[in-house]
Structure formats: structure tokens, C-alpha cells
Amino acid sequence: MVLRCLVVVWHMDMMCGGTAVNLEERFRKKQYDHIWQEYCGFLDLTMPLFMDIQNRLMLEQLELYSNCELGAHIMKGKKPSSVAEFRKVVPLTTYEDYAGLLLPKNDSALPAKPLVWIETTWEGALNPVKVAPYTEGMVKNYANAIMAALILITSSARGEFSLRGGENFLYGMAPLPYLTGLIPRVLPLSVNFMPSIDEAESLSFRERSKTGLQMGIQKGVDIFFGLSSIVAKMGESFTSGSGLSGGIRFTRNSPRMNSRLLKAWLNSKQEGTPIRPKDIWNLKGLAITGTDSASLKSKIEEYWGIRPAELFGGTESGCIAVETWAKNGLVFFPDMDFYEFIPKEEFDKNLDDPNYKPNTYLMNELVAGNQYELVISSFKGGAFARYRTGDIFRCTSIHNKEANVLLPHFEYIDRYPTIIDIAGFTRITRDTISQAIRISNLDIHDWFAIKDVTEENRSFLHLYVEAGLEGMRAGINPDIIREHLSIYFRHIDSDYKDLKALLGIEPLKVTMIPRGSIEQFAATFGRDLRRMNPSHYDLVEILKIAGDSARREVS
């Protein structure tokens, strides 16, 4: 297994090394127009051309998919010959449909031989992780997408970007086997990762961030890519002074950085304001990802002095969307996956009736202002077909005439209502909460949960509970419940404990509502209350039933 991993990493290095030489030579020859064209040229596509690429690559995938065990399993033995037929005969899928064939990492069942297996936590909790195979074609596409993203985050207008190679790259993302760990391995341009790839992979998340920051102070930072919650928190720590405490050794810093630090310190003293990251670093580009990105963008800009550009990616889908120089919406790459969209009305119907089969629409059939759940089908021999990602987007515009980008722009809204994603770190499902309540032995009669946000735009899990009779007798209160559940959440979900440690946020808030409120809701409206993220209307109604105290809490 170790040998195989080594081989895979070596192969990826070789694969991307060749490209790196080529790309670096082009950078050296200042062929910036060609570089832009190659990586960001997709922004010149018209909608019909975008769809032509989607359809043709889907046909390639169908050819591969129809001839493998996984394809036969997912497509129920059918071999669709057109994209329309594929959408007609293949049902929408979730990870459960793939688990049996993917979790054993059985290469022979797949449409193409994978180069690497990417892992992530599985919020369904049926298995600790879910895995996704990445073929050589997918890894190449991923590398191109990341390269395009780097160019775009350092761009100020079409064709104008400041990326040159050799930049100091403060990299705050998870290492392999997480998808973001592929970035340093496949990036076709040499940059100075801080910390270095090998060092980063042996450090914990917290150590990695700390080491990266130290190096950033010593050498300077040109590009920063991290979870929006982390980027915001780092800005906050700097501003409060804790970010610099005990970390600065002037003798190790470059003269340039020392002069910057001195200047920042003098300015800070003169104006009586704290030192912010933007005072010591002049970033070329700042990329963020995560569910809180939209809400934290302004704050991040304030700290870092540069408008962050958002990226969107997932283990199953790869890096699929990026913001342009205009930084006003995500645009999808045409060659990463085949995209379908389930309108909100359709997935709401499906939430209420799990047997309902929601309709999907294609990129060229969307309506601006509407919310959609993304459905992807992998290209290049990937494993997923009509896979519901659980990610909800709002189509903000069909095109951006000002920037002359004729493709739809999107805003990432959140995860599917049945999943509560907090700061991009952890994803809590109904099963996670039920399990925590069960093993905590607390007498909780019923509950529902919503994703809520603080005044600082920080998300947290808000759990409304009805205590059982035993619990009521024992004087159970919100603090006890929160303490107990926090312990068990940490036990069940390893990422949960990082929330407080890294971001300093309390991810769980408990509000008690009168026993029987949820049942009364069902009796009043003739339907069950959704336990995870009930609709806004239902939330208002249940809180009316629960009484003023609960309503005050939510307001």
C-alpha cells in the first residue's frame, strides 16, 4: 500500500513536472496571452459551445461507463447511446449507490484505472470515510482548474494577471488523501508552498497553519488559499494581536519583511490601530472556499486588503467552479463534470416525499435568481453518474455582460438542508445528532436542528430540544445538554473539535422548547416537521407553537 502511494505520487509528479517545465518556460518567455487562453479561455465560451463540450465529453464517459461493473450497476445494465437517453434512463444517485463498489477500492470495477483515491469524511456516518477514484484525465483536469483559479485570483481584468511563478503560497488546506492535498502535487507551476509539501503532510492542521504563518512572516506571502472561516479567523487574530504573539524573530526574516513589519508597527502606533495582515503582506491573490465564503468575504477583504475569490470543489466533483476577475459569482468549468440542476421546488418536494423523483435541468436551461441542487456526472472515467452533491447554488445571472462572460454565474448557498455544514469543517446530519443523543443517554423526547449564524456571520448548529419526562424531572437544562452533546459530537465527528480549537467558536447552541410542540405542529399542519433545517415558514410556525422564549432565541 505504501509502495502504491509512492508510485502514485511519483507518477503525478512526473505527469505534472513535464507540464510545469513547459508552463514555466512560457512564463519565462512572457507568453501571458497564451497562458490566459489555455487556462481561462473557457470564459470566452458561449453557452452553446459550453453545452457542446459538456455533451461530447459525456458521450466519452458513457462509452467508458457502459463497459464496467460500476456503470452496469448504476445504469441498471442499460447502455444509453445519447446524453438525453442517459438522463432519461439513469436515476439520480447518492453515495450509498456507490459505497459497495467504491469503498473496497476495487479498480477493476471502474470505468478507467484510477491514479489516486481521494477521501473525505462521510456525513452519512454509515462509514467513516467516502472515497472517490481520480483517473489521470481527471487529475489533469483538476490541475488545469487549479491553475486557472490561481490565474483568476491574481487577475484584475480579462487577460491581465500578476501570477508569475515562484510566489510564496500560504496554503491552508487539508493534505492528501483529501482533494485539496492534490494541489501541491499537480500544480503545473512552481510556487513556494509554505510550509513545503513534505513538511505539511507530516503536520497537523493547526501546526501547518502556524508554520505557514511563521514562514509567511519571514519570507512574505503572495498567494493565500484557505477555508474562508480560517482566513477570516487569521485576520481576526492578527488584528487582536494574537496572530503575531511570540512568532516573530526578526533575525530570521528577510530584510523586506522586516522593513514591512517595522512600517506596519509604526503606522499602528501612529494611528492607534492594530496591525492587520494587509499592513504586512501585499497579496497578489486570495482564494477561499467553504460554506461561509459569501458571508465572510467583506470581513476577509477588510483584514487582508484584497477581495477574495471563491473556489468551489468537492471530493466527488473535483474543482468545478471559480470566480472571475470581477469576483461576483462562480463560473463552472466546462470540462470537469456533466452538470445537471434540481430546482428548489423539486428538491423540496423530494424532501417531503423521498419517493418523488425530481426533474433536472441543464446549464442552458436555468433561470436567474433560482436555487438549484447540483447533480454531477464524472468525466474522464470517473465513478459518479447523476450524483446528487447536496450542494445548493443560486444562479445569480445567466451571463455577466459587464465582464463579457456569457456563462451563468452562481452563488454558493449551502449544503442540502438535511446537512448542516459549519465553517466548512464539519457536516452534521440527522444521523450524527441522533447518534450523539442516543449515546449521551440524555432523556430527549424530540428535537430539530437548524444552521444559524452569529452577528459576526459565524455559523453554528442550533438544536431545539424537547426534554423527556425523566429529563424534566431531573432538571435537564440547555447547558447540560450542550455540554453532553459537545462531548459526543467530538467523539463522533473528529472535525468537530477543531471548530473551537481553530476558530474559537462555539458550534452548538441548545434551546429547549415545550414538550409536545413538534407533535402539535404535525397535528396542526398535517405533516411532520423536517428535523434538519425545516423551511423558514415551518420554523416560524413551530416557534409560534413553542412560545415566545424560543422565538426570542431565534430572532
Binding site: 497564451h34 459551445l49 465529453l57 466519452e60
Partner: protein, 856 residues
């Protein structure tokens, strides 16, 4: 002048002139960094050479001064060449370059301070050779301690240059060819400088000669490998002029040298001899000038020269070429000649499969498996009016993101660098694909322009060739069946016989039975459809094994090379049965009778030549026809004899007729005997119809036909079960359907009666109705043969006036009234009215058969 003296003066003069001219040319042009640095090299070499000349001429301030200037040039030249090679191979190492610069600078300073050459002078002396006295000039110098440092520096730099040159090979964008020129030049320079250390050689300008050769090689490397476009740099005239001036200088120099040598002799003849020598040299130089022109073309305009040549030969060959393969071949050859790509492939569109496949390629051995579907973005790119596609564009333009991995991989494996469309009007009919060039240089605008031109010309040529091929094919093709025609058959027959020599060639002569009748019955449209069906059957059965032709009318031929009689007979039988089965399985039952008679004859055993082969296959086919049709007969000499006797018997027209008349009466009697209730029906119908036909003033033969048809019209009832024919109650639908089949059965019987085929249209149509509601074919109005319309009235009238198992006969008047009622619906109005009138007028008498007089 001694040869050593010629060398002493000639080398610097020619070198200096060349350097100055080249510098002048380059200074007038657009310059890139290579040119700029090369100009610096030239300046250093001019300093070197000019100082050497000035020194030899002892120009003030003196020999030593110019000697030191010359050494400056000598030291500076390798260092500037080092810079040039660094830029040329794109491997600049600033630190090392600085170090070499420092060393060179130090050496120059030492030289200028007088530590390299301490003294230098020109020694002139008289030398006697072969009894003749010559003035000789020699350069004598004293070296100081600095010379070792200067030489060491110079060699170090030159070694660094050579190492860098060879290392440059590893760099991906510099080819071995480019490096080779530089390396050879530098080696010469190095050796020239090295031998200069030997005083016996050093007194001659060997180093300047080496330097000159080196600079020439650099010039060649620059131009040959397209480091700059010569046409942007210098006009062709200027290039010619440069070389012409060099030659002229050399010419003047030779004449002067001769003059000087002669000066020692008789002064009276010197001018004459010099003039004669000058003319002789001029005469000898003339071809040299021409060769110079060619050399300039080949050396500096090599690419353009090759392109011109390629274009000329391509235009010449394809202008009148109408053969697709030849055009493709010429295109590939021309492209190879002009571009020198490693491989060139031409793909043509397969219209039926919607893919582009390799039609021709430059490799004689390897034919890559490459096909590009219609929807490939490469094709769509050219359909949107783009004229070329490079690998870089394919890799970088978002338009090509839809390419499949396997498509990319195939093109990568084939090393495709450039693709050019071959278009016919706006349709992409082919693709021209080129891999990288032999010298590894990139495709430039001129290459692409040339390829685009060749692609467009090829498109036009292919278009013409296709049109020609189509018209050729049409001239040899039967327009209806798309089979080869009679003309082609004769050509093919002759060709096959010639080709096979004594090998076997079987001929099938196929004739459709009763096809004229088929046409008469169903019209020519149906007849044409039947011919197409037969053609398809033949093509299907013969495939690539033989040549199928439509010989004429309903006759087909099949040429079967290397088929013996048995094999040919088997195939003929297969064809015959396929025709029978195909028509029998048709929905329209009335078409079932179409069959074929086939004659088989094999060359050389059964026929000695083409004429006999054709004639004897024909005899066999007629034998099959005359012996019952729908059969295959192999030609044998016995057949020929019986055929002759048959023809002899048939010699007198109608000689057989009485026999057939007897047959008709026998058959009529047979059906009358079977269907007792209709006893005499055929006879009566014949009588009524014949009277009617006579009234219509039809010719005698037509009346006879109606009579015979009437006698036979119900002959098919022989095949209807007797219980149905004699049923007293009303017939069920199923029974009626069976009764209706008697028409088809009549035809099946009649077609076996030789010479009675002409009655079939009348028989088959006697149950048709004027309004088209009859059977079996639902014909209407005049489409129903006249004879059939006559029979219909006569048949109906006799049926009504005769007793039947299920009813009693009507009276004559009632029957006539019924006919009148159905005028225009069941019966032809004109004929029905005439018939009614004939009955009412008593011309047709109903009571007593014999009372009706038959007019024949």
C-alpha cells in the same frame, strides 16, 4: 606573387569585405536579439581583420599599434561568440559569463599595456623561386609574458563556448542540426587559433581564415534554421549582389595578381596578356556567378526554394489529374518536399460512415489506424472557416476541450503538429495532417500559407476528380439499377479474358421470364421496381466475387473470374431461387410469377473466345426459357444441337399454334367438366366477348386474343376446391377469398403455355371494375386492358343469364338492366352500352349457344 603571399593578402581582404557587407545588410534590417549579438560578433571580427590588414599595409601609427588592435579583436571575438551561443541556446549563465568577461577584459588591458606583444614588424625581402624574383612580406612579432594569460583566456572562453554548444543540444527547442553548424564553426575557430601559436604558421592569417569560415557557418545556421526570415532581412537582389561583389573582388584580385606576376617579364605584351587572362577568367567566372545565384537560393532561401519547387511540381501534376490516388500522392510528395515533415497523412471523408479516414500517407510501410468522426471539434473548427490548426491551438483553445482522451492520445502518438483542411466549397472533405519537421523547427507562417494553398488546391482537384469519376461512372452505369451497363460489360469481359489468360471465366446470362407481360400487367413503374429488386438480389449474391451488369432490358450478366462451371451453376441456382423466393414472398400475390432463366457458359472449356462465350451463354439461357422457364441451364454442345432443331421446328411462325389451340380447348373442357353448373360458360363468354370485340372494329389478332383469353379466363378454377365451386348457399368471406384466387391460378397455368402469355393481361383483369373496386389489382378505367373490360361484361352477362347453384338465372332483360345499372361503376360505359345494344338488336343471341355466330 607567391601562393603564400596570395594567402597573406587574400584572406583578410575577402574576409573583411564579407564582414562589412554582412554588417551593412544586417544593419538595414529588422533585428532580433540573435541578429544584434551576431552583429557584435561581426564588429569584433572586423576589428580583428581590419587591424590585421592595416598592420600589413604599415599604416600609421605603425605595425605594433595595429597588431595590438588586432589582438583586441582576437580576444573579444570568442567572448562575444560565447554570449551569442548563450542566447542562441537559451542557456545564459550570468555569473559564468561575468567571469569570462572579466578574464577577457583583463587580457585586453594587458594587451593594451604592451604585455602581450612587445614588438611587431613587417619584414620585406626578395625571394628567388625557379629563377624568378618575388617581393615577399612577412610579419614578425615578439611576445611578452601576458600572451600566456591572453591565450589561456581565449582558449578557456572557446572551450566554454564549445561545451555550451553541445549542452545546448539537450535544450528542447534547439535541434542538433542548428547546433551542428555552430559546433563545426567553433571547432575550426579553435583549431585556427591553436595552430596560430606555431610561429611558422602564425605568420600567415590562419586565424583570420578560421574566423571567416566560422562566421560563414554562423550565417548559414541563422538562415538555414529560420532563426530569422531572410525575406524580412534582405531582398534577394541584395543577397545576390553581396556574393557577386565578393566574387568580383576576388576576380579583380586575381587579375591584379597576374598582372603583377607578368610585370617581371616582357613589358610589351603585359597589357595584352593581362587582358586575355582577364577575359579567360571572366569566362571561367561566368558559370560561377550562375552557381552563386543557385547557391544563394539553396543556402539562404532553401525553404522558399523548396516551396517553389514543390508548388511548381504540384500545380503541374494536379492541373490535369483526375485520379484521386494520384492527387493524394502528389499532395503528400509536395508537402514532404516543401516542408520536410516526419510524416504526412491525408484523410478523406467516408460519407456513409460519417468519419474521416486515412486515404494516403507518407509512410510506405506504416499506415496508422486513425479515424476522426464528423462531430470531432477538429472538423467543426474547419467548418467554422478556420484555415489551419496547430497542436498548440488544439492544446490551449477551449473549443478543443471536448476532445476525447483517446482522440488526443492518438494525435499525440502520431506527433501531429499541424492540420490543414481540404475543402470542397464549404464542406470539409479531407484533412491533411503533418507531424513535426525533420529539423525540429516550428511551423512558421510561410509553411502554413503554403499548406493552406496546397489544401485548397487539392480540394478543387478532388472536386474535379470526383465529378469526372462520377461522370465516368455514370457513362458505365445503368441509371435505373445502378449496375454496370452493356458497354462496361463488353469492356470488362475483354479485360477479364486478357487478364485471366487460360484461367476460367464463367458467364451467367440471366433473363427475366415474361417480363414484357409483367410490364404490360403492372405498368412500367412496377417493372422498373422489379428490375431494381433483381439488381439488388444479384449484387447481394455476387458481392465482390464477380461483375454484375445489366445487359439490356430484362437481361443481366454476371462475369465470374476463376469460377468453374459447377461453381457458376451453384451461384446461378442460388440467384434464381433468391429471385423466385423474393417475388413469391411479396405481398402483391399477382407479382409472384416473376422468375428468371439462366444460361451458364465457362471460358475456355465451353467457349474459346469472348464472342462464343456470350453466344453460348445466350443459347443456354434460351434453352432454359424454352424448357419451362425458371431454371438454370449449363451450355453443352448437345444443347446447341437441340436448340438448333428447336429453332428449326419453330421456323414457321405459328406452326405450333394448332397444338396450343387444342390445349386451350382441352383445358376449357377440363374446367367445364369440374364446374358442372357453369358448363359451357367459357365457351359462351368467348362468344359474347368476340362479338363485342368485333363491333369495336379491333384488328383480327386482338379479337383472336380476346377469344382465347375468354376461353381460358376461368382456367384457374381448376385449383379451387370443388365443394366451394358447387356450393349452393352463399359463400363465406373465406371461401370468397379462395374463389378470388382463381385469377392468380389462371396466370400460373397460362404462363406455362408457350405463346399464350399474351392472353394473361386480359385474364388477370376480368374481375377488375371500372371504378377501381375490383380484384386482384384494383385497376380502374382505361388502366384495365380493353380485352379484360370486354371479358368482364361478357362474363357477368353469362353468369346472370345462367343457372347457378345458389340462384336461378335472370331473364335477359333483367341481366341487361343490371349491366346498365352498373355502367360507370362496374363496367366500361362505352363497351357496356354497345354490348346491351348488341343483345337487344339480336346480334348476340342468348338462347341456344350455336345461334351466335363467331366472327373471327
Amino acid at each position: 606573387m607567391l601562393p603564400s603571399q596570395i594567402f597573406f593578402w587574400g584572406v583578410p581582404v575577402v574576409a573583411l569585405a564579407s564582414y562589412c557587407l554582412l554588417l551593412l545588410v544586417l544593419s538595414l534590417t529588422q533585428k532580433d536579439k540573435h541578429i544584434k549579438i551576431f552583429m557584435l560578433v561581426l564588429v569584433a571580427m572586423i576589428v580583428w581583420t581590419a587591424a590585421a590588414l592595416l598592420m600589413k599595409l604599415e599604416i600609421a601609427p605603425g605595425v605594433l599599434f595595429w597588431n595590438r588592435v588586432m589582438v583586441v579583436g582576437t580576444l573579444a571575438t570568442p567572448f562575444i561568440i560565447y554570449i551569442f551561443v548563450s542566447v542562441f541556446t537559451d542557456t545564459t549563465n550570468r555569473l559564468f559569463m561575468g567571469l569570462l568577461g572579466l578574464l577577457t577584459g583583463t587580457a585586453i588591458v594587458l594587451n593594451l599595456l604592451g604585455y602581450v606583444i612587445t614588438d611587431a614588424s613587417i619584414v620585406k625581402q626578395l625571394v628567388v623561386v625557379d629563377g624568378r624574383t618575388y617581393n615577399t612580406v612577412e610579419f614578425v612579432y615578439q611576445i611578452g609574458f601576458g600572451v600566456y594569460f591572453a591565450y589561456a583566456t581565449s582558449f578557456l572562453v572557446m572551450i566554454a563556448v564549445i561545451i555550451k554548444t553541445f549542452r545546448g543540444r539537450k535544450s528542447s527547442h534547439v535541434s542538433y542540426g542548428q547546433i551542428k553548424m555552430l559546433a563545426v564553426g567553433l571547432m575550426i575557430l579553435f583549431l585556427g587559433s591553436l595552430v596560430n601559436l606555431v610561429p611558422a604558421i602564425g605568420k600567415y592569417p590562419v586565424d583570420i581564415l578560421a574566423c571567416f569560415i566560422n562566421s560563414l557557418l554562423i550565417v548559414v545556421a541563422i538562415f538555414k534554421y529560420r532563426m530569422l526570415e531572410l525575406k524580412f532581412v534582405v531582398t534577394k537582389g541584395l543577397a545576390y549582389s553581396t556574393f557577386a561583389i565578393i566574387l568580383t573582388l576576388f576576380y579583380i584580385y586575381l587579375v591584379v595578381a597576374i598582372h603583377e606576376n607578368l610585370a617581371a617579364g616582357n613589358q610589351r605584351f603585359v597589357p595584352y596578356i593581362t587582358a586575355l587572362a582577364a577575359m579567360a577568367i571572366a569566362f571561367l567566372f561566368q558559370p560561377l556567378y550562375k552557381q552563386t545565384g543557385k547557391l544563394v537560393d539553396k543556402l539562404f532561401y532553401r525553404a522558399e526554394y523548396m516551396r517553389r519547387q514543390a508548388l511548381r511540381s504540384f500545380s503541374h501534376v494536379i492541373s490535369n489529374n483526375l485520379d484521386l490516388h494520384s492527387i493524394a500522392n502528389q499532395l503528400i510528395e509536395s508537402v514532404q518536399k516543401a516542408i520536410r515533415a516526419n510524416s504526412v497523412m491525408m484523410l478523406m471523408k467516408d460519407e456513409e460512415r460519417g468519419i474521416y479516414q486515412i486515404f494516403h500517407n507518407s509512410s510506405q510501410i506504416f499506415r496508422p489506424d486513425l479515424s476522426i468522426p464528423n462531430d470531432n471539434p477538429i472538423v467543426l473548427w474547419f467548418e467554422s472557416d478556420h484555415s489551419s490548426l496547430s497542436r498548440q491551438e488544439m492544446n490551449s483553445l477551449p473549443f478543443f476541450k471536448s476532445m476525447w482522451d483517446k482522440e488526443k492520445k492518438t494525435l499525440d502518438e502520431l506527433g501531429i503538429e499541424v492540420i490543414i483542411p481540404i475543402k470542397s466549397r464549404s464542406e470539409v472533405i479531407g484533412l491533411l495532417m503533418l507531424s513535426r519537421k525533420n529539423n525540429n523547427t516550428a511551423y512558421n507562417v510561410d509553411d502554413i500559407d503554403l499548406l493552406t494553398y496546397l489544401g485548397a488546391s487539392t480540394g478543387v482537384a478532388i472536386d474535379n476528380a470526383r465529378l469526372y469519376s462520377r461522370s465516368q461512372s455514370e457513362a458505365m452505369t445503368d441509371s435505373l439499377t445502378k449496375l454496370r451497363n452493356h458497354r462496361y460489360f463488353h469492356r470488362a469481359l475483354q479485360e477479364q479474358i486478357e487478364k485471366l489468360g487460360s484461367g476460367e471465366l464463367s458467364l451467367l446470362m440471366i433473363d427475366l421470364d415474361l417480363f414484357k407481360l409483367f410490364n404490360d400487367l403492372y405498368g412500367h413503374v412496377e417493372g422498373d421496381n422489379a428490375l431494381e429488386t433483381v439488381a439488388a438480389i444479384l449484387t447481394r449474391n455476387v458481392g465482390q466475387k464477380g461483375i454484375v451488369c445489366r445487359y439490356g432490358g430484362e437481361e443481366f450478366t454476371v462475369l465470374l473470374p476463376r469460377y468453374d462451371t459447377k461453381m457458376a451453376f451453384d451461384l446461378a441456382e442460388k440467384i434464381r431461387m433468391d429471385i423466385e423466393k423474393t417475388f413469391f414472398s411479396m405481398n402483391d400475390v399477382t407479382q409472384r410469377f416473376l422468375t428468371a432463366s439462366i444460361g451458364v457458359c465457362t471460358y475456355p472449356y465451353a467457349a474459346p473466345n469472348t464472342e462464343e462465350l456470350l453466344k453460348r451463354a445466350d443459347i443456354a439461357m434460351y434453352t432454359a426459357k424454352n424448357s419451362g422457364k425458371n431454371k438454370t441451364v449449363i451450355y453443352t454442345p448437345e444443347i446447341r444441337m437441340s436448340e438448333s432443331s428447336l429453332q428449326g421446328r419453330m421456323g414457321a411462325s405459328g406452326a405450333m399454334k394448332p397444338n396450343f389451340a387444342a390445349t386451350i380447348y382441352a383445358l376449357t373442357a377440363a374446367i367445364d367438366a369440374k364446374d358442372h353448373y357453369t358448363f359451357g360458360h367459357s365457351q359462351k363468354v368467348a362468344e359474347y366477348a368476340t362479338v363485342l370485340a368485333s363491333k369495336l372494329s379491333l384488328d383480327k389478332s386482338h379479337i383472336e386474343l380476346i377469344h382465347e383469353a375468354a376461353l381460358l379466363h376461368d382456367i384457374g378454377k381448376i385449383g379451387i376446391p370443388e365443394h366451394i365451386l358447387t356450393k349452393t348457399g352463399r359463400l363465406t368471406n373465406e371461401e370468397f377469398e379462395i374463389v378470388k384466387q382463381h385469377v392468380e391460378m389462371s396466370i400460373t397455368i397460362i404462363k406455362h403455355l408457350p405463346s399464350m402469355n399474351h392472353v394473361i393481361p386480359a385474364v388477370i383483369g376480368h374481375h377488375e371494375r371500372w371504378d377501381g373496386k375490383g380484384y386482384p389489382r384494383g385497376l380502374r378505367c382505361e388502366n384495365i386492358p380493353l380485352a379484360a373490360r370486354c371479358l368482364a361484361i361478357a362474363d357477368a352477362f353469362d353468369a346472370m343469364t345462367s343457372n347457378r347453384p345458389y340462384r336461378k338465372s335472370l331473364t335477359v332483360n333483367a341481366a341487361l338492366a343490371e349491366i346498365e345499372n352498373n355502367v360507370g361503376t362496374q363496367f366500361d360505359p362505352l363497351l357496356a352500352n354497345i354490348f346491351v345494344k348488341l343483345v337487344r338488336d339480336g346480334v348476340i343471341k342468348v338462347d341456344g349457344h350455336s345461334s351466335i355466330k363467331v366472327v373471327v
